[in-house]
Amino acid sequence: MPPSDHAPLRWPARLHVVTGKGGTGKTTVSAALALALAAEGRRTLLVEVEQRQGIAQVFDRAPLPYQERAIATGYPGTASGGGGEVFALAIDAEEALLEYLDHFYRLGRAGRALRKFGAIDFATTIAPGVRDVLLTGKLKEAVTRTTDGRRAYDAVVLDAPPTGRIGRFLNVSAETARLAKIGPIKSQSDGVAAVLRSPVTAVHVVTVLEEMPVQETADAVAELQRLDLPVGSVIINATQPPLLARGRLSQAEVRRGLAATGLPVDRDVVSGLVAEARAHLARREVEIALRDELIALGRPLVELPQLPGGVDLAGLYELAGTLLEPARASSI
């Protein structure tokens, strides 16, 4: 079993923002990271902000309300104990705005009326920056919240918007400054920006070994660095086991192997297998070059294997275990 007390060493931040190109595994990796960081009796909060109910889907649960709910036991997640607890929250911009207004202006039922009127939708639509401040504001609140002098959560993991939008999403103060030069939104966003730019936060970028996701990863890392946002790890998801790394591929060798186990050795079969193997090698070469590009970014690299049957709950724990393994020398 991987030593889980590496968690605070390997993942030192408390707010983990997980971005990446669409479909590369942001939701999967966020969920696995929330499980991993809830090892050893710790408590984590897994958050989503895009109203997609992605968390409910990966944990195979009913849609989440705008409320923090326990959703899983932390790694290792077995009866052996030790696992803490993972909570989940789907933040809704409208709800967050109402909560915010209620807090500052004691709106009560009038707030609900506003919502019915479509005003809330309007306010958050016309000024997307405002929407993002509300979402990140709620995150900041969860990260800094204490109960009885104890932190509510040891770590908060955000299943964040994709690489194309992450800079704008996190660069809240600049976005709202464009629209609101003074006023409560301005001060709210300044507070959020301070947390996002501190070592409390780490923005991790998930990618797969394909050209466009890797390109977007490089672009995102550059953009985040330019915006002074703390970049955490680059997470390579869904990697394949290295096959045919050594030895020379030839028809004769394959035919000999097939014959040894009594499998058919017709020409079609042999040349078909060799063609598949060559395509695999071509793909692998591309992957090696892409991995080199990722190494050149100078961030810690973490690799997660492709789970052959897709991702179920057991698979999430497996990925969580991998996230807790100590960093390999090659990846520093």
Binding site: G22, G23, R52, A123, L179, G183, K186, G247, E276, P308
Partner: protein, 383 residues
């Protein structure tokens, strides 16, 4: 047991050359969820229409991968079609390519609907700036707008359109209307009202909840923002109606028989689910769907050895023949994957038995040059 789609008698084969070569077809729209290969497919189809069918073709790409853009000769985002000279066209076929510049297209729409002085006011307004570059749906609206423009000029035999990388293919149909509604909306009209009544706020005249609303907008957003907003809306006033009208016009082009929709998907659950929704939606909107393009399909080169047999055999011979053992594992992975992909694809073909399908094999490397596109076009044509 692995059988390919082509062997399945219940699945119709999509005749791509029939679509591209039909002079009555003037618009081909490639849609689908994010990252499935819409841009690649659009470029490959346009190339094939020019080279094999002699058509004067323009492809409207949206955020193409950098290297693909380069090989199409698109180094700058100038919003006008450029001829691609490396094309080997017959019968006068030509390929022109362009990248959508959504901000510039928005500016053009504004310019077309108002006088230069008003247009200038709009361009500098911070709301306009935010909206024309970041509003969710602007890109979809502007893609539709550009399609409308290209089609209206009637200088192309065929317009092939790529669609924006949205999560859901439906966004392409819904977002323009949403933006149009928003710009025409009641909320904006109410906000602009103070400007019309000479500065006296109409908020006092309307419902109590609206009064509360304006107060809140002031509180949350600050007075400056309200001023900018109402300036923006005031300047757009002359264009009210125009937005909706334009998007409705393009919508009608999409419903015409001269248009062919191709839904692009990869054989994975999310993409297939989206394709399934989208096909249903096209049907209910009476938009002409030509077929499904199933991209990045993994097809084993031989099906004589099953995944299970290959795995077992691999273990047996590993000590003596590690290379063949690995080759068998590669094959086992391929067989298992193909089987999964086919199971996933059946979700679509079962619910849309009338929709013809063409497949494109997953290429070992990315597609970013003309030769690669030509191969994709050929793969589509043979099924």
């Amino acid at each position: 047991m692995v059988t390919t789609l082509a062997d399945d008698p219940s699945v119709q084969r999509l005749d791509i050359d029939g679509v591209l070569g039909d002079p009555a077809i003037r618009v081909v729209v490639c849609c689908g969820s994010g990252g499935v290969g819409k841009t690649t497919t659009a470029a490959a189809l346009a190339l094939r229409a020019a080279e094999e069918h002699g058509r004067r073709t323009v492809v409207l790409t949206i955020d193409p991968a950098r290297r693909l853009a380069q090989s199409l000769g698109l180094s700058e985002l100038d919003n006008t079609p450029r001829q691609v000279h490396s094309v080997k066209a017959v019968n006068g076929g030509e390929l022109h390519a362009m990248m959508l510049d959504m901000k510039r297209t928005f500016d053009e729409v504004v310019a077309a609907h108002t006088d230069p002085k008003r247009a200038e006011e709009i361009y500098v307004n911070p709301f306009y700036q935010a909206m024309s570059s970041t509003f969710a749906g602007t890109q979809e609206y502007m893609a539709m707008e550009k399609l409308g423009q290209l089609r209206a000029r009637d200088e192309w035999d065929l317009v092939v359109v790529d669609t924006p990388p949205s999560r859901s293919a439906l966004d392409f149909l819904d977002a323009p209307a949403r933006l149009g509604r928003f710009l025409d909306g009641r909320m904006l009209r109410l906000l602009v009202a103070p400007a019309r009544t000479g500065g006296r706020s109409v908020f006092t005249l309307v419902t109590a909840s609206f009064g509360l609303f304006s107060k809140l907008m002031d509180k949350i957003l600050g007075a400056q923002l309200i001023t900018d907003l109402s300036g923006f809306v005031g300047a757009l006033d002359s264009m009210f109606g125009g937005f909706r009208e334009r998007s409705e016009q393009t919508y009608r082009v999409l419903q015409a028989p001269e248009t062919a929709f191709l839904v692009v998907a990869v054989p994975e659950p999310d993409a297939i689910r989206e394709a399934d929704y989208f096909a249903g939606r096209l049907e209910s909107e009476r938009m002409p769907m030509a077929g499904l393009v199933l991209n990045r399909v993994h097809a084993p080169q031989t099906t004589a050895i099953s995944a299970a047999d290959a795995t077992t055999a691999s273990e047996e011979i590993r000590a003596g023949n590690p290379v063949a053992a690995d080759v068998l594992l590669v094959h086992a992975g391929m067989m298992a994957r193909a089987e999964r992909e086919q199971a996933v694809t059946r979700v679509f073909t079962r619910s849309h038995p009338d929709v013809p399908v063409a497949t494109i094999a997953a290429q070992p490397v990315d597609v970013h040059d003309i030769d690669g596109l030509r191969e994709i076009g050929l793969a589509l044509a043979v099924g």
